[in-house]
Symmetry: D2
């Protein structure tokens, strides 16, 4: 096990999944400290920096990477454990963006309305107290929200040699924008190319489910991950595992199809883990599952299907206990650091 680092210098920032040479080579079990920029590439520094003016399409939503993981081959699964996600600065930004968001006309949901106003919010981050402070842009209203750092965008190179913008979520991961992707969580991706070519970015100090306005509390992060490979194990859509939940994702439109993909995968996963028939597994997921929205703003929408691990009992373990092992390794590393 090595401890590696990948900084957020311009050379290490890419804007798509697929099509890039590795910026780092890692091996299974390695700890990697990855620095990531915010979705604006750090160009928004005050509330007067409008993203549509200071950012240049398609150079939005940079991800750091890709990282080549030795031994990861087509048909394997890459496991990525998030040990720590730490905001780099003591402030961060959110914004609206013209033709982007769930409650506005977009380039896809095309209407004759003018765009909603573009507005930027600056949040003060108080890591010690664990809060981000919101200030209304109109009026004096302020309130505090708990910090809950996460990554909006994590993924691997897609199948079929596709190169997909980092703002798009899909079967390869990408911009899933779910708050479930916090520290303590392991993410599993199917490997489509040798080395998997992992990249991540788009840290949020927190976001609501749905990311309705189009952005979270966008922040540069110093993030510690551990990577590993499950040989000969296929994972068709990204899955997450925390201490409490098994989670399947689906990212597509319309939203009910994202729901269907995530539920279908969780039913299949539950059946595989328990030996239950397909209909019995659907029954368990139907009665015990949670179904929070990830995002309804990106080029694909994301749904998460969650099953409490407690429901299945202590004898059931996913991916051969990978999450527990990575969790322990992360704790060990963080304690020794």
């Amino acid at each position: 096990m090595a401890v590696l680092a990948l900084d957020a210098s311009a050379d290490n920032l890419t804007y798509s999944f697929g099509g890039h040479e590795p910026r780092l080579h890692a091996s299974p079990g390695d700890v990697i400290v990855v620095d990531t920029e915010d979705c604006f590439g750090g160009a928004v520094r005050t509330v007067d920096d409008l993203p549509s003016q200071v950012c240049a399409f398609p150079y939005l939503n940079p991800v750091t990477g890709p990282i080549f993981v030795a031994g990861a081959e087509v048909g394997d699964t890459l496991a990525v454990h998030f040990a720590e996600i730490a905001p780099v600065r003591d402030y961060c930004f959110s914004s609206t963006f013209p033709h982007f968001g769930a409650l506005t006309t977009t380039h896809q949901t095309a209407m004759l309305h003018d765009a909603l106003p573009e507005l930027v919010w600056r949040y003060d981050i108080d890591v010690a107290r664990g809060v981000a402070v919101f200030h209304a842009r109109q009026g004096d209203f302020a309130l505090e929200l708990p910090l809950d750092p996460m990554h909006g965008t994590v993924g691997v190179a897609p199948a079929a040699d596709e190169v997909i913008m980092s703002i798009t979520p899909g079967a390869h991961g990408g911009n899933m924008d779910t708050p479930e992707l916090r520290a303590g969580t392991t993410v599993y991706f199917g490997v489509n190319v040798p080395g998997a070519l992992l990249a991540l970015g788009d840290g949020h100090c927190r976001q609501g489910e749905g990311e309705t306005c189009g952005t979270g509390l966008e922040a540069a992060m110093r993030t510690t991950i551990i990577v590993d490979v499950l040989k000969g194990v296929e994972t068709p859509w990204p899955r997450l595992e925390s201490d409490e939940f098994l989670m399947s994702t689906g990212s597509v439109r319309p939203l009910e199809d994202a729901f269907r993909i995530s539920q279908h995968d969780l039913v299949g996963w539950t059946g595989t883990l328990t030996g239950l028939s397909q209909l019995d597994a659907m029954q368990v997921v139907s009665q015990a599952g949670l179904a929070p929205v990830g995002n309804v703003v990106d080029t694909n929408y994301t749904m998460v299907a969650k099953l409490p691990k407690a429901v299945l009992g202590p004898g059931v373990s996913a991916y051969g206990g990978m999450h527990a092992r990575m969790r322990a390794a992360a704790a060990h590393y963080l304690a020794a650091r």
Copy 2:
């Protein structure tokens, strides 16, 4: 304040919202003990009773009512507080149903596949231990799920003199099938006809978010509610309030439009309560909100948008503090019972 009762005799069961004479007259502040049948009308008694054979369309999903609430007029809001939802029997049933569910061809998502097999599950209910016991239909697998009783269907007579089947959720409420509708929650409906004409049914001992297989743990319930009226207050889509959350609902297809309705309503509600501008309110909801699915199986799909009340601080109170008052009245009634 009176304590009234409405039993689940055949005369009190209806199958639509709208089009029915009141079965009970109540006044604001009244406690009403309402008995409800399960969605099968009690016709499923063993796992060999297939719903498609023992139930006759359109006599599915009976609701008890309607209840005329004195003083409720068009333009007002009806508040319904759920004090208690108690399973009547020590067992309940779930099932698949041909052409119904999120992971099957339906009459709307029409495909050339044969229907999935129709299968019934019997759950044993242990109220003392607070669990329902699942037994797989194939193999010996069993597991326990926590009881979390709720009503899938609660609503009032629709606008425009419509008569809508009880299985359809919409702006009038109806078959929203969200687990948020549990005891301790207050539901607010816009009033469309004199007396509002409240009805409820479709109790579930629990259900997952999404109700993927098409049914929850379908159970007859003895449910205690308190009703009240907010004069001159409009509520365009059903809202829920618990001790912890403000919740807006949207029920329509596709699922992203249900999401939009619920988020749009919660943004407006938040703005009204706080004085925030529309964009500031959207920012707060985007960062602090939760967005669980209700159902993706009914004739309309339901989304819930939730905002923790703690975010807005103690000074912000919805509907003039109605929930807190009803909560106290419920506690008083239950303690004195």
Copy 3:
């Protein structure tokens, strides 16, 4: 065979399908001259009459009827042949309407935009030349469009005792808003209640496919229909037949489900008529079918699936040759009039 008439007096105008006493009793084979008002109830008389001001919800989109057709019972099919659709006035109106249309935020596709401007267009109708004249509201631009009179709304009482606003299309017909519903066409509806309870309205001097702005060339019509009953023949979704095409409809959201319903029905219909297996019938529909949009603005969206009758050859006849017989009867009546 009798010739009956039903005028558009206030007593004969209803605003929903279901829930009304018959305004006329007819028998199979009868000719009925039905007068219908425009969707504004005639209240828009100049371009300064804004619909949202001169019309009062829910009194929009009046239909004339219902008409009880003797002998029509649950499980039968009602055939309605449109012999003639004639504009009553020498002008008609189209308009935008706040929160209504395909390219605007609506109450379902809820966004934070203000409504688009409400604007009314007056078209001059020249029946002799067969044209309607458009005048731009801004600038001097004018152009002529061919008259192609049709009814946006035709249907029967729904199943399950539902009462559905006339602006909603569904399995009972209703506001399908397809230009295919012109003179020379026969429409088939499944019968849900004794007498079927047919009603029609919402005439358009023409409309484009999709009815994007939300309205067509809205006009009062004098329309001549012939009605008949097919005993023991079920029709799950409205079907249309012209001299050239068999057509199935689907009305639901999202639009792809409306497409699926219409295609699924046309595949089944083609199989029944030809004896082809389901997959062979799908192959024929896939290669020879047309799929124009009806509307993408109403509470449900409508798709039409069309198959040229020539493809199936002269030996194939739908509904026992009903269309040809009604077509001949209509020609006879119109010639003798």
Copy 4:
């Protein structure tokens, strides 16, 4: 003007838009004879060759190209006129494919059903009589369909350096699968990279609107195109022009958003050509437009919005008369050939 050729040898077949070196360099005004393989890569030769067995993902739906067109730069429009589309063989194939099609569970509309049976149909092509002959796979039924050759897939390299599988339609064109793409039609694409990098394939001897079963009459074609460049003219979504119609396309999910994109573009285009205000232009499109489905089976769905050019009068000409000039050049070339 040169006459160039690009054959369908393996070296000239690619499986994505973007990411490939040019196979041919052409100049504005050049005639190019392009040979294309069918979507199966020619691997289906009898009805016993099941596509899922003889084709290997992702090597499906080959396109011939890309072709670098000199002078085409970012911000320009590439015009591609289809002079002739001629089937190469006297037979062609259609098929179902597991988890592909509008009336089956797919990887996106994920359900628990087994895939529909995979079945192949062989059509005999009689170019002289202009027909394709269908033979039922079950029973003796046969029928003739008119030939109407077209290309399902035509496009340019995408923006943002994306590489997108050839089976996906989008703003760059790709697998739009609309029967409107026949000989006599000019297609306009926005240019995203120097040279535009045009590629085409997926010829169909005909297809229905919607391509419900997932394939058309899949055929290798010898296709003659003319290419040209409009400098400084942007085209956000592919547009088509025939002698009779202006056509805008939208390719996205859900289908109503594809409809919105196509209608929004056609409204804007109409406004630009006529000087009409946005609302006046929407009014014209709403009343005079056609809206046929392209496909409801690919990774994005495609809608076409059509406006008869006759409606706008002879004084209105798109893209500076490019279509008429290319049409004349094509006629001249074909006559002189």
